[in-house]
């Protein structure tokens, strides 16, 4: 528990920021706006779907833009046992 608290960022604003980034990347791609995160996410999903059945929510992307360095964090959830499932035919 102590470790958890240590790593938790202060305040609720970082939560707001992250929720917005995720939501807006969904909404922008649904609207068809040019949006790097949205495009990457959709393409990533398409590649994954060739091999494992993944849902829309299973790919989470976060971009942190800094002055000199930006990081792109990609989180892919794969349900238990799905790695061994037969790939869908297409």
């Amino acid at each position: 528990m102590i470790g958890f608290n240590l790593f938790r960022r202060r305040g609720s604003a970082p939560v707001a920021r992250e929720r917005l980034q995720i939501l807006l990347s969904h909404e922008r791609s649904a609207r068809g706006d040019s949006d790097l995160l949205g495009v990457l996410r959709e393409e990533m999903l398409a590649v994954l779907r060739k091999h494992v059945p993944v849902e829309q929510d299973y790919v989470v992307m976060r971009m942190d833009r800094g002055a000199t360095l930006s990081t792109l964090e990609i989180e892919i959830l794969i349900p238990h046992g799905m790695m061994h499932a037969a790939p869908p035919l297409n």
Binding site: G11, A13, A16, R17, R19, L20
Partner: protein, 270 residues
């Protein structure tokens, strides 16, 4: 030729009307000829915030329908002689606002003013799309709060697709105006920071209006905050934003109430 601005947000209650009144007044205080137009048919309030509610005779719809001529409907501000208001109609006939009708009114006004500021209604329906339709630039009023930021993102999408400029393939100039900002809460991690909002919306900043009692105080008496208390933090923030609109380079600061702080110190010392 006037520059046409739309003050928009998607979400209601974030400060569009306050911003229209304050920026309009601030530009007029700098000697610019300004017209503010209320597009909120059925829920007009710009007249009230500007203290002109008892002087409304004709409105935007009357002009659109040819019932009144533009000079008959424009109300000149009693304090600033270069500030004019074109009020919205309080009758609920929203459909009376047609695209061509609005286009003609804006076209006629372009030659007569330096700035035309269109106060958009909340939402993304007809009234909001008509308010932005003929704008050259947009001011997106955003509170540092999740629902407001999300709606601003939606509005940015509309500005880039539904405006005349966007349809002609021209660039739509967009600015974010953050209102009700509390720098101490943002610093404590309790409120989205200015940088958070700008990064999420990827749109340049026009100004930061701090949360302040002065805004309500000004609307209570029907006077734009830049006139009612020009030394107050929100007034200075709006005056800065107006200067930026005119192309001046002014460093971005979050203004705070100097007087109140002095008052507090004084009271403590006494």
């Amino acid at each position: 030729m006037a520059k046409v601005l739309v003050v928009t947000s998607g979400k209601g209650g974030v400060g569009k009307t306050t911003t229209t009144a304050s920026l309009g007044a601030a530009l007029a205080q700098a000697g610019q000829k300004v017209a503010v137009i209320d597009f909120d048919v059925g829920l007009r309030n710009l007249d009230l915030v500007l203290g002109a509610e008892r002087r409304v005779v004709f409105d935007l719809i009357n002009v659109v329908q040819g019932v009144a001529r533009l000079p008959q409907a424009l109300i000149r501000d009693k304090r600033l002689e270069t500030l004019w208001l074109l009020p919205a109609s309080q009758t609920r006939d929203k459909d009376a606002l047609t695209e061509t009708g609005v286009a003609n009114v804006v076209k006629e006004m372009r030659g007569k003013f330096d700035w035309i500021i269109c106060d958009s209604p909340a939402g993304i329906e007809r009234g909001a799309t008509l308010a932005m339709r003929y704008a050259d630039a947009a001011i997106i009023v955003t509170n540092p709060e999740v629902s407001s930021v999300r709606d601003s993102d939606r509005i940015i999408g509309l500005l880039d697709s539904k405006t005349e400029r966007a349809e002609k393939g021209e660039r739509m100039e967009k600015h974010i105006l953050i209102t009700r900002y509390d720098p101490s809460r943002a610093q404590r991690g309790e409120m989205l920071t200015v940088d958070d909002v700008l990064e999420i919306l990827s749109t340049p900043l026009l100004g930061i209006i701090p949360e302040s009692e002065e805004v309500l105080r000004a609307s209570n008496v029907g006077s734009p905050v830049t006139l009612n208390n020009p030394a107050s933090a929100p007034a200075r923030a709006y005056l800065d934003a107006a200067s930026r609109l005119r192309g001046e380079e002014i460093s971005m600061t979050v203004h705070s109430e100097r007087k109140r702080l002095f008052g507090k110190l004084f009271r403590r010392a006494a």
